[in-house]
């Protein structure tokens, strides 16, 4: 968990007021092996970190799961932007995001085959049993590889999309959440199936049942 990293925890503790909110109940994946054995896991990779001014204006957003180093760097950048923007808040934040706009790198996994990739990669991710830190402080190579891939996608595809959105105007998290999840994280919060039924299973013989 990202906030277990001592450097991340220290920066959050010292420099931010930390808050959390749920955007919807967490999806649960259950595999029934047919012999009475079942595995049940939550799919909890669809997260976003908003960095806001004390009045709630959005300064920056860190999308998705990231490795601690990238997350820490993003937090420091956002903190620097916050301090730089204290005199001319809106203008500075808009100018920063406008200056950082660039064409997002589109990932085959994330765009063309996102349903399959989302189902498969998150399934793989959640089905790898989590080890408690006391037992195994280091992640397995599978987890580390998935996290590294997520971090790269966040940086090269999702972050440019976020710059473009935040360059439009000053936002409040509540006004932005659905768009962020749909356009950047590819999760439609208005869809009870989160967009997975039609893309991953394509209806097929079972329709959308």
């Amino acid at each position: 968990m990202i906030f277990s990293d001592p450097d991340v925890a220290a920066l959050v503790r010292l420099s931010f007021v930390a808050a959390w909110e749920s955007v919807r109940p967490v999806p649960v994946v259950e595999i029934d092996f047919g012999n009475g054995a079942k595995i049940k896991r939550t799919v909890n990779g669809n997260i976003a970190t908003y960095i806001c001014a004390p009045d709630g204006r959005v300064i920056d957003i860190i999308p998705g799961l990231n490795d601690p180093k990238a997350y820490l760097e993003a937090l420091r950048d956002a903190l620097a932007l916050y301090h730089a923007s204290r005199k001319a808040a809106v203008d500075t934040v808009l100018a920063y995001h406008r200056a950082n706009q660039k064409e997002p790198q589109r990932y085959v996994e994330a765009v063309r085959d996102k349903g399959k990739a989302m189902v498969e990669s998150k399934l793989k991710y959640v089905l790898v049993p989590r080890k408690s830190e006391a037992v195994a402080p280091k992640e397995s190579s599978t987890e580390a590889a998935l996290l590294a891939a997520d971090t790269e996608t966040n940086c090269k595809e999702r972050k440019p999309l976020i710059h473009a959105i935040l360059a439009e105007k000053a936002w409040r998290p509540a006004d932005l959440t659905k768009r962020l999840y749909k356009d950047v994280l590819h999760v439609d919060l208005d869809d009870p199936y989160l967009g997975l039924v039609t893309t991953a299973f394509n209806g097929g013989a079972y329709g959308t049942r």
Partner: protein, 80 residues
């Protein structure tokens, strides 16, 4: 002294008994905590000292920037 030697095999089993109960404990103790304590608007993740507030409104106007962590599900269910 003889009693001590007789009790030794039993004493040796005690750590093993506790070890066996760890998964049971892991399930039961958060449940017991949840039942025993009313839900708090503010809680701490074990060990890292971050005081989390529930929702943006609870974090507004405190003189520091806000880190708002958005997720699917409940933070304490998923990450604690």
């Amino acid at each position: 002294m003889r009693r001590f030697w007789l009790a030794l095999p039993v004493l040796a089993l005690v750590p093993a008994l506790f070890a066996q109960d760890q998964p049971k404990k892991a399930v039961e103790s958060p449940l017991k905590r949840a039942v025993a304590e009313p839900a708090s608007e503010k809680f701490e993740l074990p060990g890292n000292g971050i005081a989390w507030k529930k929702g943006l409104d609870a974090a507004l106007d405190q003189g520091r920037p806000i880190l708002l962590f958005q997720l699917l599900g409940n933070f304490d269910d998923v990450y604690c």
